[in-house]
């Protein structure tokens, strides 16, 4: 379903060049294809004579790595970087990803030797500043969420979900009340059911109502003594606030279950709303979304989990506690009948203490914005999304079909009704947007509408940027409606590669370079 086909025809109209390069766009082979055997881009001294102690396990066969000089490596990766779209180059309207500007100050702070050149297991007297930073971050997160505790070690959002769901299961086990089901809305992100399955739970989906929110009646019908928790994203993946959330929380708690909230969309409410007042028991946050730590081509992230008092005792190791006038790490669960810190912890979720590099960046971000700035972030995020809503929706002058009428929060959901009978799919539409210089919005998610297009501009887009995007999308929609399907199906034409054959990639996976392999040809 990539729309790839051999029949897409001849390359772009421009005359082919001699090199295959196109101006600033350079064809760049793999490093393995540029090997100068014996060459090295790092000057290292000859090791002094020594009595080897490798125990007859000296590596005999070569590894097979290529040798290149520094200029070649710098050029190689610079050329690769030029084939990437990024926040730094343009609007990145991916729904629920919160592709906001990544401030460079935070890169500088994370690289301070006092943070970067610090081993996690150094004596505690030598790391008090690091513990203070983590404690400060925890304070900001607890204050923003209104929750009394926060677990900082999860390395990403999905990891945070695992953490939250495990504390819930541990809490239920501790009160002798093992339950079996997790309720998850149909619109949920795939990590939610995947996480629930790892915790040994069965997943029971809840339908959305006509307004795109969780159907409260359906939820109540599915609640029972065997439901451990509801996993809810709020604002939800349709960009809408679950306005019946207080009734939802009450119903969940009345059934003896816990309320887990996926905080991926926290950007809509940070600084303006107190999640603790919504009845939430566990809330994961994505530092790489709401708090601007860079996406880095797919990671690293950080997914701390704010916890209610009932779940706090089960938080993963390590804990950072105040003791004897300084900060100290609790790395093992206290044993014995008297208990003590972390006695009931679910255990360790990753090596060492957590994503310190992301903590520094996130705290730098929070301190830069402050209480007033963070409130403005949520307001501008919601404003920008609603502005795009009215510019794009066919009810208010645009050409797209909003799925659930009315105001949205920080992201707006459209579906492919506006493409009906045009021969243009959501995929084709997105690929055409690429040629116009924009990264497409999220497509085909959430699954609750057909051919979904989910747009989240974030607060770091200017009005001019939004106007340009809206104008382009509307003009493309008009072109799709006027029978110009071939242009969409041939898109993109102007990127370093045109549509790629994902079917062939999946049928005959080629996951690494090998010395003797021929270059893959297009499938006939």
């Amino acid at each position: 379903m990539t729309g790839w086909s051999q029949a897409l025809g001849a390359p772009a109209e421009e005359a082919p060049t001699l090199t295959g390069n196109r101006g600033l766009q350079i064809e760049e082979p793999l490093i393995f294809e540029q090997d100068s055997p014996g060459h090295c881009g790092v000057d290292l001294p000859e090791p002094p004579p020594h009595r080897g102690r490798l125990g007859a396990l000296e590596r005999r066969a070569p590894i097979g790595l290529p040798g290149l000089s520094e200029p070649q490596i710098v050029r190689h990766f610079t050329r690769l970087s030029q084939k990437n779209y990024a926040i730094d180059t343009g609007l990145y309207p991916l729904g629920s990803c919160t592709m906001k500007h990544n401030p460079r100050l935070n890169e500088k702070l994370a690289r301070l030797p006092g943070f970067a050149d610090l081993h996690p297991l150094q004596p505690e007297t030598t790391i008090q500043g690091a513990l203070e930073l983590i404690d400060t971050l925890a304070h900001w997160l607890k204050t923003l969420t209104g929750m009394p505790a926060v677990a900082l070690s999860p390395a990403a959002g999905a990891h945070g979900e695992l953490c939250g769901m495990m504390t819930i299961r541990a809490a239920l086990t501790a009160r002798g009340d093992a339950r079996r089901r997790i309720l998850v809305p149909e619109s949920a992100h795939g990590t939610n059911p995947a996480t629930a399955a790892i915790c040994g739970y069965a997943i029971d989906p809840i339908a959305a109502n006509a307004r795109g929110r969780v159907d409260l009646a359906a939820l109540k019908a599915k609640l029972g003594g065997d439901v451990a928790a509801l996993m809810l994203t709020n604002p939800n993946t349709c960009g809408l606030f679950e306005d019946e959330i207080l009734e939802i929380a009450a119903a969940v708690h009345a059934a003896g279950a816990f309320f887990y909230c996926d905080g991926a969309n926290f950007n809509a409410i940070v600084g303006r709303v107190r999640p603790a007042d919504l009845g939430i028991d566990a809330l994961h946050l994505n530092l790489h979304k709401t708090f601007s730590t860079p996406h880095g081509g797919g990671g690293p992230g950080s997914g701390p989990v704010a916890l209610a008092a009932a779940l706090a005792p089960f938080a993963p190791l390590p804990w950072i506690v105040h003791r004897d006038n300084r900060l100290t790490l609790v790395e093992q669960a206290a044993k014995g009948p008297e208990g003590g810190p972390a006695a009931s912890s679910i255990g360790r979720l990753k090596g060492f203490h957590g994503q310190m590099g992301m903590f520094v960046r996130a705290l730098g971000y929070m301190m830069s914005h402050g209480a007033d700035g963070l409130r403005q972030v949520a307001e501008d995020a919601v404003l920008n999304a609603n502005y795009l809503r009215v510019r794009l929706d066919r009810k208010t002058g645009g050409l797209l079909s909003q799925s659930f009428p009315g105001p949205c929060m920080h992201e707006v959901l459209f579906d492919d009704r506006f493409l009906k009978d045009t021969g243009v799919t959501t995929l084709d539409f997105a690929k055409a947007l690429i040629d116009e210089g924009f990264h497409p919005m999220t497509m085909y998610f959430p699954l609750v509408v057909h051919g979904a297009l989910l747009i989240e501009p974030t607060e770091t887009e200017s009005k001019a940027s939004l106007d340009q995007f809206a104008d382009t999308v509307n003009r493309l929609a008009a072109r799709a409606g006027s029978g110009d399907a071939a242009v969409f199906q041939a898109a993109p034409r102007l990127t370093p590669r045109r549509r790629l054959d994902e079917t062939a990639a999946a049928r005959k996976p080629l996951l690494r370079w090998r010395r003797e392999q021929p270059k893959r040809e297009a499938t006939k």
């Binding site: 079917t503 999946a506 049928r507």
Partner: protein, 125 residues
Amino acid sequence: MPTLRFTEDHEWIRQDGDNAVIGITDYAQQQLGDIVYVELPAPGTRIEAGKEAAIVESAKAASEVYAPVSGEIVAVNGLIAGDPAKVNADPMGEGWFLSVKLDDPTALDGLMDEAAYAVFIAEQG
């Protein structure tokens, strides 16, 4: 004359005496797009009506193939395991999935015939 029947999950089943062959329909393969992988159970495994019997994957989606009837798997189609594109090319013939020994030779009676299935998919829109 082998009996051919269809399910609402877009599987077909063709009976010949006590045995039957199962696959996915042309409608199903169109919906899935290019098929990249199939996961087939081992011969000798039991299948239960309504439960998952196999998995079929396209580049972007994975779908369960549900057992239309209960029985014991006699053979699976190694051809589609090695060349999943066959399911797209010939879903009702070379692209078959499973051959089963039926628990109940009358089990197909409750399923849609070709005409009823044609009406069913027309209503899918």
